[in-house]
Symmetry: none
Subunit: 243 residues, 2 copies
């Protein structure tokens, strides 16, 4: 299990080994794992090395410790899943619904000052503007407008949009979205939203504005969405930095 001759650090080998056991369910939540000294003796490695492995797993949320009692397996976190999702499609699949879209408009427009600032491009730089009604299980869920700098995503077609814009971006253009900032607020449905979402006037909507960034920090897209409040709830898990 542990190869001392390997160029891979011992603590890392142990870390991966324990992580496997947890993810395979061989170690169950709240179950105690062997003590540090047990690992130390079993694999003939220093206890400090074992601690390094366990500390990393504690920091990653896989384990938790209790002084005088032992080290235990943490509950699997939904958070991991939620952190990863960036698109409506992924979000809906996660909720067990079937996502679909209806394209309203698709054009290239010059970036207005406000948009240009958010995407960190010059004014009037061409951007794609994609308006879509997003549906879950064939029912209108959100009205979404996506803005993409045209120079970053060339040769976009209606077909690509209808298929999977994200897949195209990640696989064909090999761009990776590293992080996203979301601003969420409540509002009352405007007229276009009333029409496209098929809600009564005066209905509440959840507005989400998401800005995504590439690995080097370049702003990549701006997505403005208006969700039907009666159908959509935003769920989010946050972890506190250890003091």
């Amino acid at each position: 299990m542990i190869d001392k001759q390997s160029p891979i650090p011992i603590y890392h080998q142990l870390e991966e080994y324990i992580k496997q056991l947890i993810e395979n369910g061989k170690l169950k939540p709240d179950e105690a794992i062997p003590s540090e000294r047990e690992y130390s003796e079993q694999y003939q490695i220093s206890r400090m090395t074992v601690r390094q492995a366990l500390n990393n797993l504690v920091n990653d949320g896989y384990l938790y410790r209790q002084k005088g009692r032992g080290t235990f397996v943490n509950k699997q976190k939904v958070e991991q899943k939620l952190q990863g999702l960036t698109s409506f499609t992924e979000d809906m699949k996660e909720r067990g619904m079937v996502p679909s879209s209806r394209l309203i408009s698709f054009e290239i427009i010059p970036a207005e000052p406000q948009l240009a600032r958010k995407l960190d491009i010059k004014e009037n730089t061409p951007v794609y503007e994609i308006k879509r009604v997003r549906m879950a299980d064939s029912l209108p869920m959100a009205l979404e407008t996506t803005y993409l700098p045209a120079n970053l995503v060339k040769g976009l077609t209606e077909e690509i949009i209808n298929k999977s814009l994200y897949q195209h971006i990640e696989e064909k253009l090999s761009l990776t979205i590293r992080e996203a900032t979301q601003q969420i607020e409540a509002s009352i449905a405007k007229e276009t939203e009333v029409n496209h979402l098929q809600v009564e006037s005066g209905s509440p909507v959840l507005l989400i504005v998401r800005t995504s960034f590439l690995e080097d920090g370049t702003p990549f897209e701006l997505v403005k969405s208006a969700y039907r409040a009666d159908r959509y709830k935003f769920v989010h898990t946050m972890q506190r930095a250890a003091k």
Copy 2:
């Protein structure tokens, strides 16, 4: 600076000391801090102890390391701040506003089935119910109801609530909140919300339900808030898990 006789661990003292220097701006982003060996010699402590302090600061995002070069101060991240905040007070301070509260009611009630399930306690177990109007710069911002299992937080008084509930929990009871799940949705202000938040009937509100968990995963509190949509925007940065 470092007191070896103190009951506070040495690594923790060093950690706080360096953190201070960063937050005070005496150490600037991308500036190199003294090497591990320098700290070790200057304070006559083991290099491993220094490493423990630095590792914690790296994990918390205050520092980053480069093999062969040194250890450097990280850029202040908004994200870090956002992840850390758990209370209305912290949130408002972060936004540069002055938070305050007005207590509406404070009592111990038996947990209803739904609440009991969310807090993972038995039905009718006593819980504190605290209703407050939360204000920012003296203007009503949110109507908040907090539920705390009475067995976890004993001897709560009005005074404590008005002072700082979180400080009391973390320092006096030495409980640490590790993570929180939030559900966010949009709605129309109900009558009590209309009254306490001083909005017109039909106004949109942002509803946030937060469940906080302790280090071992025990549910600790449930907070239901209704924010004035015209004054409050929820901001959230998420990072994508590396593939």
